[in-house]
């Protein structure tokens, strides 16, 4: 069972307290953007995900904790969390992920 660091509680808690919530940094288009979007672009936003092998930016929910959603970098091969961060923060750069790995 994984230990996950909640950036809001600022604590490592067992996986049981959390729920996975899909890929991160997929921003919902606002009403103006939606109106402009082709069906193809909309279905890409809705359904197409990267499904990468390696460091994956994804959303987690501290369901049985502080109730907050946050983002994480997790390696889909090793299942290791490199870092977690608040949703308002930008996706970490490759460099930041590398630094976090060496910590």
């Amino acid at each position: 069972m994984l230990l996950i660091h909640c950036p809001h509680c600022n604590e490592e808690r067992p996986e049981l307290e959390f729920a996975y919530a899909g890929e991160a940094h997929i921003v919902r288009p606002n009403e103006a953007e939606q109106a402009e979007m082709s069906d193809a672009d909309w279905s890409k936003f809705m359904f197409i995900r990267d499904n990468i092998r390696g460091d994956h930016a994804e959303r987690w929910w501290h369901a049985h904790g502080c109730n907050m959603f946050f983002n994480a970098i997790r390696n889909t091969v090793t299942d290791k969390f490199t870092m977690t961060y608040k949703v308002c923060q930008k996706r970490p750069t490759e460099h930041q992920i590398k630094v976090a790995k060496n910590d």
Binding site: M1, L2, L3, R28, E31, Q34, R59, V87
Partner: protein, 986 residues
């Protein structure tokens, strides 16, 4: 004293005799025995039959790796445990064990015909044979497979025992209490921090128990052991756990330990926990699991009496049992000489040591000579004889082709050693091939974990002690006096003059996989070791190939002509040894399996002899039968009473979320399809929620308490997911909105009153709300008091009758219910359950999300375009409603169905076709979603999702059911009072 007991040897208490039975026959053992050692002491080697061929099998190992000696232990009704390894089964007085895979008994087994016809059961037999004709499945193949499948008897009764579980934390967890594990614990304990040392055996000490002659720091092994264990037991920060198997190693140093608490105690009543699962989070894990000796794969290696050399040494050293009087040795590794010499020194005759190697260490030769043991170097055992016990071996010398028979009553073998990588591999630690050991050993760790001792390839007592000490943070180096573990060689095929096809050389004893099966699998194209494993079933039995995997790997590698390290290794998976379901389930059994959520009014319903049904994790009143009524009669009566006078219904399970804040209306506009700006304070409205993909997610009535405050209700089952859905959007998409969400489901009890007399009933109890038709119209929502208790009162109807939903603080729920019920007697107030609620709403064509919708239904499919605001520029799901597939013609739409025969109540889920005479498979155009007997209409009604359903209104469709095809006409889904006039009762 039994025949093969050697007094003066072993760590057992020969003064304490234990009576036990095996296959109904009585025997005696002593305190400290396992079933295997006790049977061996009685001269019994035959302990089981193999799975596929039902070949007679004897014990091979002396621990949890045992592949053959599996027994079923009978501890009374519901307490039969199959597939217990006799080698790990602690003997107790009165133990009753039975062998498996035989009928009528172990010595005469009908199923052994499989053995006679073994040429018909090659690798992949099941895959090749049980294919066609299809008609054979029912009558021939399935009974055959069922008969053959599985090991041992499945329990026929529920397990009456209790199981416990707990969480634990420590700085250092040490798995395995042999010399390396104990040394690690001693040094880790000195450095402070919590230490847990666990071992699967009842006695700690590992290999030291088998080799009492070894000296550590000038003390005999058992003395050093006793002193060390005493020290550990006295150290406060150390927890020593015996009979505790580390069954799995999971992420972030989370290790599951299964502790067996009572199985070794005779006559334990049902009550105390039988096993306890410890979920341990450790800072550091030290794996000291040891190594398992490898059998040699030669013709006749499965005859009872053939066993691992180290096992024979353990039976002598630990249990004081000789495995035979004349014990021959067959080896490719030096370590077997220690076993041979130990046995010889205890007056067991060693008629021969057969060694595959042409040359061996001089000291071994000398010691053999001193003991008068004949050495056969560069030789191999080419066959064995004896029906239920080995009688002789044939020694073959390939250089000259000479053969010689040698009599024996046991043959001990060693093909080298396999470090136990199981937990290391669970933790995803890397492994590397060690050519000298001809085995894989740990490489890079993936967790904060080290592997020490034999499981790391550090063989010998001193090496193990030193590695353990170092892992625990110490620096001490130990002096020992021990047999030099030495080296060996590993051959994929042993020399034999007999044609391979005529040999019976077993690799996996438990699953009856032979050398030729593995070669056949490779010939048939299976090159990956994972495929070879599945095709031959090698390593797939309850022992997970602890003794067989490496032999299989070497044979397969040779067959594909690749170095072993290129072929890889099959994946180790938890649990390390078979684990009871009870240990995994722990306390989660019966009432504790899942929480039953009950409403505040539930006890009242229970007292009425109500019938409950589970809805999500709630239990809800289903219907209230009066004496002699069946469900149909009760529901018909409840429906009629509600439509004619007054029904009362517990709606407390409705999900409730309070949406509060300056931007509450904006947020509601985004989360629901309906418009909310125009909803006045003091009113409520039906709300429809979509997912972003445009499909219906939930629905419920929403009341506006103030400009900035909404009381949202959800479906009973949908409450958690709706709350999560709202939180998700609020926190991650609509972050600019100033809104708070609070789940209030359990704060409010909800009493629904429906029927023409509803207003009359509550009027006298309500304060602060004008209930008149004009001032409290349909879809009004007010705060006030009822029965002196604060209430949020909705005028809504899910039945089509005049209706009120009375929200009161949960702890007043039952009191208000009882007051209203009492006062309602004048109107023949009738309590009703979920079934009547469903019928009443279906008569009105109201949907139930999740019953009439299935996650692919849009508001337009459901006939609810009125619920979707056309003016709003955005809401969740809006853009998707314009997706080409969602606006396409021919979607399934919600319609009503009236059967031609009004007495036929269709089955929910039944498929609908346009032409009942078409050939099978028919073109299914939809399915029945809701179906009931309507007492109000005096006939059956149904709702259905039908392709292009609205256009098919007034046409007939067909519902083919077993034995009969029903005809039904498509109608609008509102069956009762389509104009809604009944809401306007005075």
């Amino acid at each position: 004293m039994t025949k093969f007991r050697r007094p003066g040897h072993g760590n057992v208490d020969v003064s304490k005799t234990l009576n036990f039975s095996f296959d109904g026959k009585s025997y005696q053992g002593v305190q400290g025995d396992t079933l295997a050692s006790a049977l061996l002491a009685n001269g019994v080697h035959l302990m089981g039959r193999s799975f596929k061929y039902h070949r007679p099998r004897g014990v091979v190992g002396a621990g949890s790796e045992e592949p053959n000696a599996l027994v079923a232990v009978d501890r009374g009704q519901g307490r039969i445990t199959p597939n217990v390894r006799a080698t790990s089964l602690e003997l107790y007085d009165g133990l009753k064990a039975n062998s498996q895979n035989r009928w009528p008994n172990l010595k005469t087994d009908i199923g052994a015909f499989n053995n006679t016809f073994s040429m018909f059961f090659p690798a992949g037999f099941y895959n090749k044979t049980f294919k066609w004709p299809a008609s054979f499945w029912d009558k021939v193949y399935e009974p055959f497979i069922r008969n053959m499948a599985g090991l041992g008897p499945a329990p026929e009764h529920p397990d009456p025992d209790n199981y416990a579980s707990t969480y634990g934390h420590c700085e250092t967890l040490i798995v395995g209490a042999g010399p390396s594990g104990i040394a690690a614990a001693l040094s880790a304990a000195r450095n402070g921090g919590r230490v847990i040392l666990c071992d699967e055996n009842p006695e700690l000490g590992g290999s030291l128990l088998s080799t009492p002659g070894v000296q550590i720091e000038g003390k005999f092994a058992l003395d050093w052991l006793a002193k060390s264990l005493e020290k550990l037991r006295k150290t406060e920060n150390v927890r020593v756990m015996s009979r505790t198997t580390a069954i799995g190693y999971f992420h972030d140093n989370f290790v599951a330990l299964a502790e067996r608490l009572t199985d070794h105690i005779p006559g334990v009543e049902i009550g105390p926990a039988r096993e306890k699962l410890h979920r341990i989070r450790a800072g550091k894990v030290i794996l000291a699991q040891g190594a398992i000796e490898r059998p040699l794969v030669f013709n006749g290696n499965d005859r009872p009496g053939v066993m691992l050399a180290s096992s024979a040494q353990t039976y002598l050293g630990k249990y004081g049992v000789a495995v035979g009087n004349e014990v021959a040795v067959f080896t490719s590794h030096d370590s077997a000489y220690e076993a041979a010499f130990n046995l010889s020194d205890s007056n067991i005759r060693i008629p021969a040591i057969v060694d595959i190697r042409e040359d061996i260490r001089t000291d071994l030769k000398e010691q053999a000579e001193q003991r008068g043991i004949d050495l056969f170097l560069g030789s191999a055992v080419s066959k064995t004889k004896g029906k239920h016990r080995i009688k002789s071996i044939e020694v073959f010398y390939p250089n000259t082709g000479s053969k010689q028979m040698i009599g024996c009553d046991a043959l001990i073998m060693s093909g080298g050693w396999t470090p136990s990588l199981h937990l290391w591999s669970h933790s995803k630690g890397g492994i590397k091939w060690d050519a000298d050991l001809a085995a894989y050993i740990p490489d890079q760790a993936n967790e904060n974990c080290v592997s020490v001792g034999a499981c790391n390839g550090d063989f010998g007592v001193a090496a193990a002690l030193n590695a353990g000490t170092k892992a625990g943070g110490g620096r001490k180096k130990f002096n020992t006096n021990e047999f030099d573990f030495g080296t060996g060689i590993s051959l994929d095929t042993l020399p034999n003059y007999i044609d391979t096809s005529k040999q019976k050389a077993f690799v996996d004893f438990q699953n009856d996989v032979t050398e030729k099966d593995i070669k056949l699998a490779v010939r048939e194209g299976f090159k990956s070791i994972e495929h070879v494993k599945r095709y031959t079933t090698n390593g797939m039995a309850t022992d997970q190939g602890k003794t067989s995997n490496l032999n299989a790997l070497q044979i397969a590698a040779k067959a594909v002509d690749q170095p072993v390290e290129k072929v890889g290794l099959t994946t180790f998976r938890p649990p390390y040894t078979p684990t009871t379901f009870g240990a995994v389930a722990g306390y989660r059994n019966d009432q504790l399996f899942e929480v039953t959520r009950k409403t505040p009014i539930d006890p009242w319903a229970e007292a009425q002899k109500v019938v409950f049904e589970p809805v999500g994790i709630w239990r809800r009143a289903w219907y209230f039968p009066k004496k002699g009524e069946d469900m149909h009669q009760a529901v018909a009566r409840e429906c009629k009473a509600t439509r004619e006078s007054l029904g009362i219904f517990d709606a407390s399970t409705l999900g409730k979320i309070e949406v509060v804040g300056p931007d509450a209306a904006k947020f509601m506009n985004l989360m629901y399809t309906n418009p909310w700006n125009a909803l006045k304070t003091g009113s409520c409205r039906y709300g429809l929620m979509l997912r972003e993909d445009g499909y219906i997610y939930d629905d419920g009535v929403v009341g506006r308490l103030a400009e900035d405050r909404f009381h949202v209700t959800t479906t009973t089952g949908g409450a958690p997911r709706v709350y999560r859905h709202m939180e998700d959007y609020l926190q991650t998409e609509f972050t600019e909105l100033d809104v708070w969400l609070t789940s209030t489901t359990e704060q409010w009890a909800v009493i629904a009153l429906n029927g023409p007399n509803a207003r009359k009933l509550i009027e006298p109890f309500v304060e602060g709300i004008d209930l008149s038709r004009e001032n409290f119209p349909h879809m009004a929502f007010r705060e006030g008091k009822i029965c002196g208790v604060p209430t949020r009162l909705f005028r809504v109807s899910f039945s089509g009758e005049l209706g009120f939903e009375i929200n009161i603080p949960a702890h007043y729920g039952r009191a208000v219910w009882e007051m209203l019920f009492e006062a309602g007697q004048q109107y023949d107030i009738t309590p009703y359950g979920t079934e009547t609620m469903h019928v009443l709403r279906a008569e009105k064509g109201f949907i139930i999300v999740g019953q009439d919708t299935d996650g692919t239904v849009t508001p337009f499919d459901a006939g609810m375009p009125w619920a979707v605001s056309k003016k709003k520029k955005d809401f969740v799901g809006k853009r998707s409603l314009a997706r080409p597939d969602l606006v396409a013609e021919g979607r399934k739409q919600l319609v009503g169905l009236l059967t031609e025969d009004p007495n036929v109540v269709l089955e929910e889920g039944a498929q609908i076709v346009a032409d009942p005479d078409q050939p099978i498979p028919m073109d299914m155009i939809g399915h029945v979603t809701s179906s009931y007997w309507s007492e109000a209409l005096g006939r059956s009604i149904a709702m259905a999702l039908v392709k292009d359903g609205v256009n098919l209104t007034d046409t007939d469709v067909y519902i083919p059911m077993p034995g009969q095809t029903h005809t039904a006409r498509i109608t609008a889904p509102v069956f009762y009072d389509p104009k809604g006039e009944r809401l306007n009762v005075v």
